[in-house]
């Protein structure tokens, strides 16, 4: 048992080294592990896939409520969902409740649009695109990035009535009033009621919960992409029926990527993720074995 006590007194930099290796080695020498979609992810995929719930050309509001600190967790699922929307000929309108969310949306939009356009021919040949899909998609027509506005709940409240007022310009300063994506056939101002689905990619507070707070006003179906840390908290919203689906953390992204058959950063991360989890669990077990050994030693001394 004394070996565990020795282990416990090991410099913690050895622990750090172990963790680093458990991530680096699987990244350098990747091997695939199976990814099984959970119910929450499958439900979201099914909803976006369903042409009755979201007919072609439906505009969806995607709120990017995170910053670089959570980008590795949330961007993969944002990209996967955006690609899926483009393939279904849905029109994502991106906004942000977090200050740098606009930048996060930009990177994800560019990556997803490129992924869609570069695989257009293949996907069309396989019949996996909605009939109205175009080979090239355009900003302001097929998607738009509105950027950040302060106010959180108050901002969302303003969106419920009218999009153009809080967002007179998109992130790059182009006037939104002229954009084709916001045009309604009957000439009405574009408001949250014209949106088919609200998805918030949420890190912590100020994301999907602000939309949930305003659900009484917009009455739109909602889904979330959340960081792993928030999964326990957001599960209650799934259960109370306030969210139709959710992708949780990097594993959630990997599951969505599997469902749309486009493995990306999420799937690639699953092997190091699994190994690192095992390493951390081993540390907890060793730590406690050392603790037990110590207790025994002390008991012997006393006895």
């Amino acid at each position: 048992m004394n070996i565990f006590i020795k282990l416990k007194n090991l410099d913690r930099r050895w622990v750090f080294l172990f963790v680093a290796l458990s991530v680096i080695i699987p990244l350098l020498f990747p091997f695939a592990l199976p990814v099984v979609p959970t119910k929450a992810v499958a439900n979201l995929h099914k909803f976006i896939e369903n042409a009755e719930a979201l007919p072609e050309g439906t505009r969806c509001f995607l709120s990017f409520d995170f910053d670089p600190a959570s980008e590795p967790e949330l961007k993969p699922s944002a990209v996967a969902i955006l690609v899926h929307m483009f393939r279904r000929n849905l029109k994502p309108i991106c906004g942000a409740n977090w200050p740098v969310g606009g930048e996060m949306a930009e990177v994800a939009l560019v990556e997803a649009a490129n992924a869609y356009m570069s695989t257009y021919e293949d996907m069309k040949a396989q019949g996996k695109l909605a009939p109205g899909c175009k080979p090239i998609i355009e900003r302001g027509v097929d998607y738009v990035n509105l950027g950040y506005k302060t106010g959180a709940i108050i901002h969302v409240k303003a969106l419920c009535n009218d999009f153009m007022y809080p967002y007179p310009q998109d992130r790059d300063g182009n006037s939104t009033a002229e954009m084709a994506i916001f045009r309604n056939p009957d000439g009405r101002r574009f408001a949250m009621s014209d949106v088919g689905l609200i998805i918030s990619f949420t890190a912590g507070t100020g994301g999907i919960e602000t939309f949930i707070s305003m659900a009484g006003e917009h009455k739109r179906p909602m889904a979330a992409g959340c960081t792993s840390v928030n999964i326990p908290r957001f599960t209650t919203y799934l259960q109370s029926g306030q969210l139709i689906g959710m992708t949780g953390g990097l594993p959630g992204a990997a599951e969505y990527e599997t469902l749309i058959e486009r493995p990306g950063k999420g799937c690639a991360g699953m092997t190091p993720q699994s190994i690192a989890h095992l390493v951390i669990m081993l540390f907890i077990i060793f730590g406690n074995l050392a603790y037990i050994a110590e207790q025994r030693n002390e008991a012997k001394k006393k006895g």
Partner: protein, 295 residues
């Protein structure tokens, strides 16, 4: 003075708070109040931005004090201030300023952002008249201004074209934003992965039943969320009788949806009750610490 300093703020809070509550219940019956319900929040949005400016200035103040006192490690405060000033300056000039917008000159060279969103590439304006979508005609050129052989002319929104100097400023800003801000932030939070590991090793002691429950559910969640969990389940399935029921992913789902979610609901209910009662106290002027102590 007491009225101005103490009573008037309380009256303002009471009236605006009541307006928002009445507006919620009034429906379309009281159009004037209903319109306030959408106007006032927009005002709050603007005011909140000023408070963020205030916060940024107090950060500057604290660090300037450290520099002037030459406190230990004042060099770091200097680094902070230099970072702040350069980013603020670049941010101000690179944003869009419609009042300084001039129509682009035909035949002149400008710069637009590449697909990578970081670097810039040169273009020459062919026709600066906007089409019906508000775009202008340009061609891609190389650094010396020669037209690139294998490219065609393109239509771009005029706001995206920048002069050479503005394009430099923009590159500098990108270096600071992408290079420093994004990388520093994500690395600092990823450091927590290491500290989670060392904390698990040192502090996660199963001294009581409670701590045991903590560890058990942590293990199941860690296993159930990743692929390795399903491999473990396959091994567990060899245990006679109960084995086939031990699917880690299913157990994880159950823990998340029942016991863990029960506690989360209770936390939400408790927090919301507290929140509502605190809000009521503020509206009715019972709680006034936000207005400062002295009167």
């Amino acid at each position: 003075m007491i009225f101005l300093k103490r009573t008037l703020p309380l009256i303002i809070t009471f009236i605006t708070g009541m307006i928002m509550i009445v507006a919620f219940f009034s429906g379309e019956g009281l159009p004037s109040i209903k319109s306030l319900e959408s106007t006032l929040p927009k005002w709050i949005q603007i005011i909140m931005t000023f408070t963020m400016v205030l916060g940024a200035f107090s950060l500057l103040r604290i660090n300037l004090q450290k520099i002037s006192r030459k406190a230990d490690g004042w060099g770091y405060s200097l680094v902070l201030i230099i970072g702040f000033l350069s980013m603020a300056f670049l941010g101000f000039i690179t944003g869009s300023w419609p009042m300084f917008d001039k129509p682009l000159t035909n035949g002149e060279i400008y710069y637009v952002l590449c697909e990578d969103n970081v670097s810039a590439r040169p273009i020459r304006v062919i026709d600066n008249l906007k089409d019906k979508e508000g775009k202008i005609k340009v061609e891609y050129v190389d650094d010396k201004g020669e037209k690139l052989a294998d490219t065609e002319s393109a239509m771009i929104p005029p706001d995206t074209a920048r002069t050479r100097n503005m394009s430099y400023a923009n590159s500098m800003q990108q270096i600071l934003f992408v290079g420093v801000f994004k990388n520093a932030q994500s690395t600092m939070f990823s450091l927590l992965a290491f500290f989670v590991a060392s904390a698990s090793f040192r502090a996660f002691r199963i001294k009581s039943k409670e701590a045991g429950l903590l560890m058990g559910s942590a293990f199941i969640v860690m296993l159930g969320n990743v692929s390795i969990g399903s491999l473990v389940s396959q091994i567990l399935a060899y245990i006679p009788v109960i084995g086939p029921y031990l699917n880690i992913a299913d157990i994880k789902e159950w823990i998340m949806t029942y016991p863990s979610s029960a506690a989360q609901s209770a936390i939400l209910i408790g927090a919301m009750l507290g929140y509502i009662s605190a809000s009521m106290k503020i509206i009715f002027g019972v709680e006034r610490s936000h207005l400062g102590g002295e009167g």
